[in-house]
Amino acid sequence: MLELIPYTEQIDYPLLTLLIAVPVLGAAILLFIRNAALARTVALAFSLVELALCAPLLMHFNPSIPHMQFGESYEWIKAWNIHYKLGVDGISVLFVALSALLTTISIMVSWKAITDRVREFMIALLFLEAGMIGVFMALDMFLFYIFWEAMLIPMYLLIGVWGGPNRLYAAVKFFLYTLVGSVLMLIGILAVYFYAGGTFDVLTLMNFKYSYTFQLWVFASFFLAFAVKVPMFPFHTWLPDAHVEAPTAGSIILAGILLKMGAYGFLRFSLPFFPDASIAWTPAIMILSVIAIIYGAYMAFAQTDFKKLIAYSSVSHMGFVTLGIFALNSQGVAGGLIQMINHGVSTGALFLLVGVIYERTHTRMIADYGGIAAKVPVYATILMIITLSSIGLPGTNGFVGEFAILLGAFKFQKVYAVIAALGVILGAGYMLWLYQRVAFGKITNPHNEALKDMNYREIAAVLPLVALVFYIGLYPNPTFTIMNASVENLIAHVHAKAQVVPAVAQAISTAVGN
């Protein structure tokens, strides 16, 4: 039974509200600024304040308990029993920090890349940040839904206004895909609300017992919303288009945070609310995850566009995440969670690096590169580090996640782990081949002769991500410690609450073993 620990027990000020308010305030101030240069500075300043606020968040966070911390709860719309209720646990707290970090980085990389409607761009980014952070903190389904939808709009604008030539198609596709999912989720939320006797309170709903049939249906409606976001196969085709057209900042946020929302939804709602349905659906989800891993990797091989390749690699990587989560044992879930962070770090960095080179050459075609290692050694080195992280080389963050996930999946059902592990081979193949085509060989495109290496601003933007690659890779325990209590609690909760299909549950707890 999870409790909400009021913030007053941990810190002097309502930290979570502050975390939502700072970017909103920044956006509001930007409304009055006409000067583009000033707009950039103000946006960066607010994103840095937000990032600084994550320090007390992580420092005062108590990792030994699974409860919701820094809690705030106020009645909002009494008639419908809607509350403004916030809290973070070991599952969500890291994503709050990651959102803040990636937003700051996004502003830095947009410094020169965005010259048109700078102010509006920065407003959209800050709004997006508030929305994302809100999603991870909301403990009221209504509030959650508002943040969830609010996040959609600035993202749509980032793609549709500042995107590439085919941006409208991509933006509409992104919007419709996620809208269909959202609407289904809304129906699910309302169903739960009515079923549970009129409450949106996440902690209450977690402990409510739903009938098996109800679980199956509502799980499905939530599932679609989350599966589109992850994205799971076969709901993934919006992602390559969205990434290709999105500006660098949009891609970083999209890959780094927005894709995590789906998996977060599974962890926060699907599993604890509907344990029986989750277990019943598990084989299907495992199969889809394995398909995503292999299929995404295959798709990556077929790509000629730098960004599309990374987009498909995301499908493959996120397949690992859902595989781990639904293995429903410590290693699987913790591995899935850390892999979500890892993917945000590595893929965020990859999109950043694509952006860096795109700004110089204005092409995303892999064939237009080749041999640039000789011209831009710093860039080539960082790209190599991130590539290695992406293929899960031990010592980098990617390994820790993949290892834990595969081990968890192996404990659950060997065949999934065996097939998924093939994805590790394919991953090395397409990433190293990509690297070869970009950096190795002789320069064939004369435009690349005068290529300039990364400047200090760009290096500063990517450096925190490189540091995280090694920090999580070499010393992941502090990160695992933060999530551990919540992960164990979640698993125990699901297994304890699952009753309707005892046979399956029994099989699973045997598989989980010790």
């Binding site: 009129g198 590790v424 090395a428 190795f440 695992f480 010790n514």
Partner: protein, 641 residues
């Protein structure tokens, strides 16, 4: 503990210095690198002495990650086996670093080269020092990374970066097995620490079995075979050997250190480390022995006809690794490690000496364009001869002792062992033949060197020849530490030293008379091989061409390496990856899934021409409608309540 931790950390420090400041240090980066490995060498000697004195170290530095019941530590273990490996790795690494100072002189990637080489040494030391499977895997994949980086060191050459990718991906196929093996170990024993796993082997968990494709397989067999898949990748055994010949694209010191002396022997080391596991599964042991025996002969046959000096030695390496596995597979673990040790010295020597030849010939690697070099590069010729005699297994050179111990053990290992012994002896004949074909083509007969190159032929500088001479010294003497009882009783220092690490498998009793006869026999076989090479490549030099013409089919099959690369390329690279990927992309993703999405969208658009006005395309309005819908639903609830 600090002392032992510094063994890998000193090279790592060298890597950081050469890597981060190489731009400013230029060729001075080599000092940092050499200092790093040399320091590591000194500490390794000290660690070896500690082990000799009876100190076995097994300590955790810190907890790497802990999730649920899984705890993975960064911790080191230095027992007899590790102590041997430490000496082999650091000695070779130091000598090869020094050699490289001369060999790489003037290369624009000089500092980068040393940085990679240091990083490699670091990972290799982590691999041999790890006290658990996961940390060993770190070193395992880490050396693979460095191998990839160093094979593709001259990255402007497409063939070089291709070879690097091939090496990495083929190794990943092996790692796939390694990973699954680890998972199964964890599932079975609940731990991944060597000591704990080995201690649990006598318990009931080890007796489980799985049904696999209708057959019942014991868990120890399954674990052993999965781990062995990893070893096959790293140590280039059939069918995963294909990356190693291509790896010769890397600079020659790399071939010597990584692709002959150390990294490629990691698979042998791993199987030896897991000897307690393997020895519980006769099936796995036999598999290891057979794969080793077949690889030994298979690779040797290809080596017979290759013309690239480095490729001959590369195939020879694959073949010799096969011998090591043959030894492990018949239960002669110490003999396998002994061959690993002697091989490291004489094969490292052969590669470095071939580098010296290539250096002398301004980069020429084709033996058909060599000949008569004996008088021009005397030191190189001398050490090359020593290395080849050691490789051919001529008494009293190093290879003789280790190879004979393996063959003798095979001979004692039942019927399968007897067949493998025959394979091994046949392989020894081939080995002697191709090694001396190389010697004769390179150093004897008339010069076939291009005129322009001929003027520049020169002996390598001291910084290169001194390491060669040191290695040649070891190539002669290192075998003496494993003196077989049939020659001098109770003088097998090497075997005795390693005895505590390995399980003892009973294979008949010592029969010194027979053993002596077999020794004489195998030396005779080797001499026959040398003799044949002499008559073909010195006496009767037109003979090889005539033979090649008369046995055109066989000759071409060997020259084309049995066309294995072509077949793999066709099936895996072209077929299973690129063609299938394009097919899936164009059909599934673009036509089916996106077709459906766009189709539904189009259908809606067509059927809703009438309600078009609602679809304004402005997201703000959609959002507004969305919010409105929500409010209406809420309102409805409120009213109905």
């Amino acid at each position: 503990m600090l002392k032992y931790a510094l063994i890998p950390l000193l090279p790592f420090a060298g890597f950081l210095i050469a890597g981060l400041f190489g731009k400013y240090l230029k060729e001075r980066a080599a000092y940092a690198a050499v200092a790093g490995v040399a320091g590591s060498f000194i500490l390794s000697v000290s660690a070896f002495i500690d082990v000799l004195g009876g100190t076995i170290i097994d300590e955790n530095l810190y907890s790497w990650f802990a999730i649920g019941n899984l705890t993975v530590n960064v911790g080191f273990q230095i027992d007899q086996l590790t102590a041997v490996m430490l000496l082999v790795v650091t000695t070779l690494s130091t000598l090869i670093h020094i050699y490289s100072v001369g060999y790489m002189h003037g290369d624009k990637g000089y500092a980068r080269f040393f940085a990679y080489l240091e990083l490699f040494t670091f990972f290799m030391l982590v691999l041999v020092m790890a006290n658990n499977f996961v940390l060993m895997f770190v070193g395992w994949e880490g050396v693979g990374l460095c191998s990839y980086l160093l094979i593709g060191f001259w990255y402007e050459k497409k063939s070089a970066s291709d070879a690097g990718i091939k090496a990495f991906v083929v190794n990943r196929v092996g790692d796939f097995g390694f990973l699954l093996g680890m998972f199964l170990i964890f599932l079975t024993f609940g731990t991944l620490d060597f000591t704990d796993v080995f201690a649990a082997l006598s318990g009931p968990a080890a007796a489980q079995s799985y049904m696999l494709l209708g057959a019942e397989i014991g868990v120890m067999t399954l674990i052993s075979l999965l781990l062995f898949v990893g070893a096959m990748g790293k140590s280039a055994q059939l069918p995963l050997y294909v990356w190693l010949p291509d790896a010769m694209e890397g600079p020659t010191p790399v071939s010597a250190l990584i692709h002959a002396a150390t990294m490629v022997t990691a698979g042998v080391f791993m199987v030896a480390r897991c000897a307690p596991i393997f020895s519980l599964s006769p099936t796995a042991m036999t598999t290891v022995a057979i794969v080793g025996g077949l690889t030994a002969v298979f690779a040797a046959t290809i080596g017979l006809v290759q013309n690239d000096i480095k490729r001959v030695i590369a195939y020879s390496t694959i073949s010799q690794l096969g011998y090591m596995f043959l030894g492990l597979g018949v239960g002669a673990f110490a003999a396998g490690i002994f061959h690993l040790t002697t091989h490291a010295f004489f094969k490292g020597l052969l590669f470095l000496a071939s580098g010296s030849v290539i250096h002398a010939l301004s980069g020429e690697q084709d033996m058909q364009k060599m000949g008569g070099l004996k008088r021009k590069i005397k030191v190189t010729h001398g050490v090359f001869l020593v290395g080849s005699l050691a490789l051919a297994g001529i008494f009293p050179f190093a290879g003789f002792f280790s190879k004979d111990e393996i063959l003798w053990s095979a001979h004692n290992a039942g019927e399968v062992g007897r067949v493998l012994w025959m394979l091994g002896v046949f392989g020894a004949f081939l080995t002697a033949f191709y090694s001396f074909r190389l010697i004769y083509l390179t150093f004897y007969g008339k010069s076939r060197i291009d005129h322009e190159v001929e003027h520049h032929v020169h002996e390598s500088p001291k910084v290169m020849t001194i390491p060669l001479v040191i290695l040649a010294f070891f190539a002669i003497t290192i075998g003496w530490i494993g003196m077989p009882g049939a020659i001098i009783p109770h003088a097998n220092l090497f075997g005795d030293f390693l005895a505590p690490v390995f399980p003892v498998l009973e294979h008949g009793v010592a029969n010194h008379g027979l053993e002596r006869w077999l020794m004489v026999f195998s030396v005779m076989v080797a001499l026959a091989g040398i003799r044949l090479a002499y008559s073909l490549y010195v006496k009767n030099t037109s003979m090889p061409d005539r033979l090649a013409r008369s046995f055109k089919g066989t000759y071409n099959l060997l020259l084309n390496k049995y066309k294995v690369d072509e077949v793999y390329n066709f099936i895996f690279v072209d077929g299973l990856v690129h063609r299938l990927a394009r097919f899936l992309y164009n059909i599934t993703d673009v036509k089916i899934i996106d077709g459906a999405v766009n189709g539904i969208a189009g259908m809606i658009r067509r059927t809703s021409e009438g309600s078009r006005k609602v679809q304004t395309g402005f997201v703000q309005e959609y959002a507004f409608v969305m919010g409105l819908g929500l409010v209406v639903l809420m309102g409805l609830y409120y009213v109905l309540k």
